[in-house]
Amino acid sequence: MSNYRIQGATGDWEVVLGLEVHAQVVSNAKLFSGASTEFGAEPNAQVSLVDAAMPGMLPTINAECIRQAVRTGLALGAQINKFSVFDRKNYFYADLPQGYQISQFKHPIVGEGTVTLDMGDGKTKDVGVERIHLEQDAGKSMHDQHPQLTYVDLNRSGVALMEIVSKPDMRSPEEAGAYLTKLRTILRYIGTCDGNMEQGSMRADVNVSVRKPGDPLGTRCEIKNVNSIRFVRQAIEYEAQRQVDILEEGGVIDQETRLFDPSKGETRSMRSKEEAHDYRYFPDPDLLPVEFDDAFIEAARESLPELPDDKKARFVEELGVSDYNASVLVGEKESCDYFEDLLSALAEKTGKPAQKLAAKASNWVMGDLFGALNKASKTVNESPVSAKQGADLLALVEDGTISGRIAKDVFEIMFETGKDAEVIVEEKGLKQVSDTGEIEKIIDEVIAANPAQLEQYRAGKDKLIGFFVGQVMKATGGKANPGMVNQLLKPKLDG
């Protein structure tokens, strides 16, 4: 249980949260028409006759969208409904050409499931998913293009959305944020939604109510269309406090729909319960119920990649990656892909089993690579050093060609120039010296040049071995194999 409480004059208040996430489905075409779904086209360039609701036009279901919804349901361990129905949700708006949205009301395609949140320190929390249904997105009204008129862009009209409805299982802004983060990660892994909240391909309606711990649920307000995880947290904090303030003053919460204003950090009323639409849902007579068999579900299941939770467990248990590293890497699909590509290339190059390499490789990705990317404000996808190149670099360390220290210098150059590690090592003559004879020769020279230190060493100050190692490394420009230096130096110093 979350300990998040709002302190009021009358005692502590608990926040109860449920999220309705609208996730744009990654698909070849819109839910009921063949029009493209790509983001960023000229206004009204991706509108079919069906999307514009021309007279006599009929929707036909895009099977790919059905498959994606089923895959999503499977990834959330949810019940898949082999029979579902598209309904019409009737209301008028300028960017809703049909005068109704085709959605699913009584018979959604996906039933109950679960999202497991990582709450840090290996702790988890399960949030229930009530249902997932498919529906059409509306177009976009643009009120800022003309002093009197509103312009309408129908590119988005008819694009498939999954509405993923959670149970009221969250109790703090952090949990709501973690839920969205986790959901986004899962959807991106399985490729059913790109999770791009800035472009609006993932948006959340947040249901907020407050109560004294142990009391029945309070009256909720729904905050519509919040488009970032940060805003979701902010909106909840503001809204919960607003409700507490009202209740503490003896007021009642009006069930209503509210909007979050990010610039002011506050929510304001959009419409009251009395103004709420009567959507007059009824089954869309233009569409038959959606029915599929177990084989369809199994094919969808087989198409799923390893899911984030399974992947994390494997990293930790089989590969020996630390829990923290595994969590971070799995959290972003791109990071994880990079790590896995790097690890497999490294294993292939060195001929060593991945288990032996994974911990080191994860440290390198999390430390050297992420550090450099952070400094350069780049994402993993923009990394100038590819996973293959990174693997080549680590392989050079692994086989003793260069030392770990030199590897850091080489990486810096790689990051700046994009060159391969081998090339840099060759060009700059950074190859580690592992030739016994050559190292012995340098050791002899160093001992000869430092008689005073040798005497002290032999007098019992054996810590001075570090001084001699340093001198040998310096003399070789850091290229001497440190293990060999240690091994060869001691007998010589000891005489």
Binding site: A53, G56, T60, I61, P97, Y100, R280, P285, L288
Partner: protein, 491 residues
């Protein structure tokens, strides 16, 4: 040749094949007939140039040996079907000026077969009406008159039947939601055919009630109906409710042999207060069937009395939603209010754009779908609809076809029922049950009433068994020997 407009499609097809006539000659004769029939107000848009172009193409096709049943045949298209670049407004003011960029599947199939378009045909606004008095383009007149008195052609396919009965088209497309093909066919002595729901694509048909709307044909003979239906029927991936079944050779079903066939007579269709002439004609029909060797079986369709109220919940509910797209935003009429906003535009546009009957049905439909009423009306109506379908299913275990009157009266005079919606709705009492069950049905001209007005008999078949409906219709046509023609007062 004598008057080419008096030919049947089948005759014209044979003459075209033999090279005795050309489609151009046939089309020119019909263009003249269309012009001469202005008094019927059947056409609300004429396309003579297109027609001649299409006729020439058809002649080339025939020459190339690629003639099919409808090649070169001039037809009219109900205004409900989208025709590319041509007036498509479902005879509503709200679609003012609308010319689509696309073609309905049904009309496209006709053009693919080489048929010739004469123009767009008048209808009740959005197919809502039984007398063609709700059209924004004014009422259609029935070629058949009661003495000197005008009569209505029935509806909603009033333009379709008037053009065909008035020899201003050899055939016409029509659509049937609750009887809009069969009732007007009965009123005008034409053959109306409505196939099984899902047999024809609804793509490009302006929607009234999606779960009921079905395209069909108006022709002067049963054979012509079979030829034209074969052209327009067939699966279409663009309509999820169209069904992927092969289209039979309907004309081949016209064997004239119904010996041993079982014809059902539903006892519930004996309505109290129905004109004696209708009862008598029905009885006559039964005798004809017997004489042709069919066996007559009394059947029961116990939920018949609920059909009309059920229909007037389901159809308006769907219509209220289907017509929401006419909002003044993207096409058609737009009425704005000085200083007003979006809602004002909606209200002004829809107030000006829709006629009274359409408004009435939108209001009924909105009401029955509203929160708190949905279960009591819409949901219950859907259940009753299933019971009605079950009635037919059970009956068809015992019989091959069902014979009933098409309409409870002959054509009436304009204005006679337009102030009384219930009286108007009763026109469809015999046709609505089969619509709710999605069954194929026809209306065959079978006789005249005391005023010399045509009366039709309805033949219903099992789902996807259009062939039996055609077969029985053919036998009925031959037995009835309906040769009466309207006096050509409009020419």
């Amino acid at each position: 040749m004598t008057d080419l407009t008096k030919l049947t499609i089948a005759d014209a097809r044979d003459l075209l094949k033999k090279g005795d006539i050309t489609s151009r000659e046939l089309t020119e004769a019909h263009i003249e007939a269309v012009e001469a029939a202005d008094a019927l107000n059947a056409y609300i848009a004429k396309t003579p140039e297109m027609a001649l172009e299409m006729a020439d193409k058809a002649d080339a096709k025939i020459k190339a040996g690629e003639q099919t049943g409808m090649t070169g045949i001039p037809v009219g298209i109900k205004d409900l079907f989208a025709t590319k670049g041509v007036h498509t407004q479902a005879c509503s003011h709200i679609l003012d000026g609308f010319k689509p960029e696309y073609e309905s599947t049904v009309s496209q199939k006709l053009w693919d077969d080489g048929a010739v378009m004469l123009g767009k045909l008048n209808m009740d606004e959005f197919a809502m009406g039984s007398s063609n008095e709700t059209s924004y383009y004014g009422p259609v007149k029935n070629p058949w008159r009661r003495g000197d008195t005008d009569t209505v052609p029935g509806g909603s396919s009033g333009g379709s039947v008037a053009s065909v009965a008035g020899f201003a088209a050899m055939g016409a497309t029509a659509s049937d939601t609750g009887g809009s093909i069969r009732q007007p066919a009965s009123f005008t002595g034409t053959f109306g055919f409505k196939p099984t729901y899902g047999r024809c694509s609804r793509y490009g048909m302006v929607a009234f009630a999606s779960s009921l709307d079905q395209a069909g044909t108006i022709t002067r003979t049963v054979r012509d109906g079979a030829i034209m239906m074969e052209s327009i029927a067939g699966f279409d991936a663009k309509d999820s409710t169209s069904v992927d079944l092969p289209v039979p050779n309907f004309e081949a079903a016209l064997t004239g042999d119904i010996r041993g066939m079982k014809i059902g007579i539903p006892q519930e269709y004996h309505l109290a207060g129905m004109p004696g002439e209708i009862e008598a004609l029905w009885h006559q029909g039964i005798e004809w069937m017997k004489a042709a060797g069919a066996e007559i079986v009394d059947i029961n369709l116990p939920h018949t009395k609920y059909a009309l109220p059920t229909y007037y919940i389901v159809a308006p509910a769907e219509a209220s939603s289907n017509l929401a797209r006419y909002d003044g935003v993207r096409y058609g009429l737009r009425e704005t209010v000085q200083g007003g906003g979006l809602v004002d535009m909606y209200e002004a546009t829809r107030a000006a754009g829709f006629g009274d009957e359409v408004k009435r049905r939108i209001m009924i439909g909105t009401y029955v779908l509203s929160a708190g009423y949905y279960d009591a009306y819409y949901l219950k109506a859907q259940k009753v609809r299933q019971l009605i379908a079950n009635d037919f299913k059970r009956a068809f275990e015992k019989v091959d076809a069902i014979l009933t009157p098409t309409a409870p009266s002959a054509a009436f005079a304009p204005g006679e029922k337009s102030d009384d919606p219930i009286a108007m709705y009763l026109n469809d009492v015999f046709t609505v049950p089969a619509s709710l069950a999605g069954l194929p049905g026809s209306s065959v001209p079978a006789g005249l009433d005391a005023n010399g007005l045509p009366l039709g008999l309805q033949i219903l078949g099992k789902p996807w068994d259009e062939e039996t409906v055609f077969k029985v219709s053919g036998v009925m046509e031959e037995a009835a020997n309906f040769t009466a023609k309207p006096a050509e007062w409009w020419r």
